[in-house]
């Protein structure tokens, strides 16, 4: 496995975790703000969007 394979794994891992951490701290900020209602709405909206996008591109709707 060459350095480029290692780099891809490393960059993907860091980026994926960074996005989750941003969500973690954005969640705390939203919870204490007047936008807290978004936390109630987001789950359903994202699931519906996942369903809609998988109708269009089912091959990209994989496990995560």
């Amino acid at each position: 496995m060459t350095i480029s394979y290692w780099m891809l794994i490393l960059v993907l891992a860091i980026a994926a975790f960074t996005i989750r951490v941003v969500g973690l701290f954005a969640g705390d900020a939203i919870k204490s703000s007047r936008f807290s209602w978004m936390l109630d709405e987001l789950p359903g909206l994202i699931v519906v969007s996942l369903v809609a996008s998988s109708f269009e591109q089912p091959h990209l709707t994989g496990p995560s």
């Binding site: 496995m1 480029s4 394979y5 780099m7 891809l8 794994i9 960059v11 993907l12 891992a13 980026a15 994926a16 975790f17 996005i19 989750r20 951490v21 941003v22 969500g23 973690l24 954005a26 969640g27 705390d28 939203i30 919870k31 209602w37 978004m38 936390l39 709405e41 987001l42 789950p43 359903g44 909206l45 994202i46 699931v47 519906v48 969007s49 996942l50 369903v51 809609a52 996008s53 998988s54 109708f55 269009e56 591109q57 089912p58 091959h59 990209l60 709707t61 994989g62 496990p63 995560s64």
Partner: protein, 226 residues
């Protein structure tokens, strides 16, 4: 945690088949089996892994492949943000572990179950997440070991199996007529965005934002219970 692990089993079985197929693809691109194990264990975002490896096989550009893959992960900002209440009682270390093992399936299942039973929380999420990351890592590794000897499993409609699972979860999150307009807006916007060539990740984010905007307007007009 056992409850979550057991409840996620049907979805994990689907993920295992998809993971095996991804392992085959990664092996064809040149990843050794242990490289696939590392990739799946450290990234744990199946759809972004698939896109990144496909892009990498075409261009060998690490940055381009990573950008393409991570675009699919933008939805995790909203997914993790929605877990704020569930994660509130955990230490920072446990929060970081939990958000890493959280994926589409165990997040959606947890939220759907929590909508029916408010006692469902972090333990359910962690139990289902641990099972999912284990199944995903092992199945992708086995796929890589098997190499390219099996046909393309996508032709058997596995994509629709996930769609059906998400539809079932959406039913659990449905809270009544108040959801109708925001959900419809999200659905139509996402379909339109993907049809216009928008990458899936951006289409999902766009659809969710559009639904939020509609919901906000309804709340301002007092048509939705606060």
């Amino acid at each position: 945690m056992k409850h979550g692990a057991l409840a996620i089993l049907p979805l994990a079985a689907g993920a295992a088949v998809y993971g095996f197929a991804f392992g085959l693809l990664a092996a064809q691109v040149g990843f050794p089996w242990w490289g696939v194990t590392l990739l799946s264990g450290l990234v744990h975002a199946g759809s972004s892994q698939i896109v990144a490896v496909e892009q990498f096989s075409g261009s060998a550009s690490v940055l381009g492949a990573a950008l393409a893959g991570e675009a699919l992960n933008l939805r995790y900002i909203g997914i993790v943000a929605s877990l704020s209440e569930i994660l509130s009682g955990l230490s920072l270390r446990m929060k970081l572990l939990t958000i890493h093992i959280t994926g589409d399936e165990n997040w959606a299942l947890t939220m759907a179950e929590r909508a029916k039973d408010p006692t469902i929380g972090a333990r359910f999420l962690i139990g289902s997440g641990l099972l999912m990351i284990s199944v995903w890592t092992v199945s992708t590794t086995l796929g890589a070991v098997a190499g390219s000897t099996l046909p393309n499993l996508e032709q058997f409609g596995l994509g629709f199996a996930f769609t059906a699972a998400f539809i079932a979860m959406a039913r659990g999150l449905w809270r009544g007529y108040a959801n109708m307009l925001p959900w419809s807006a999200s659905f139509v916007t996402t379909i339109a965005a993907v049809s216009l060539g928008t990458p899936k990740a951006y289409a999902i984010v766009t659809g969710a934002i559009c639904g939020l905007a509609i919901s906000h307007q309804l709340r301002k007009r007092g048509k939705t219970p606060k």
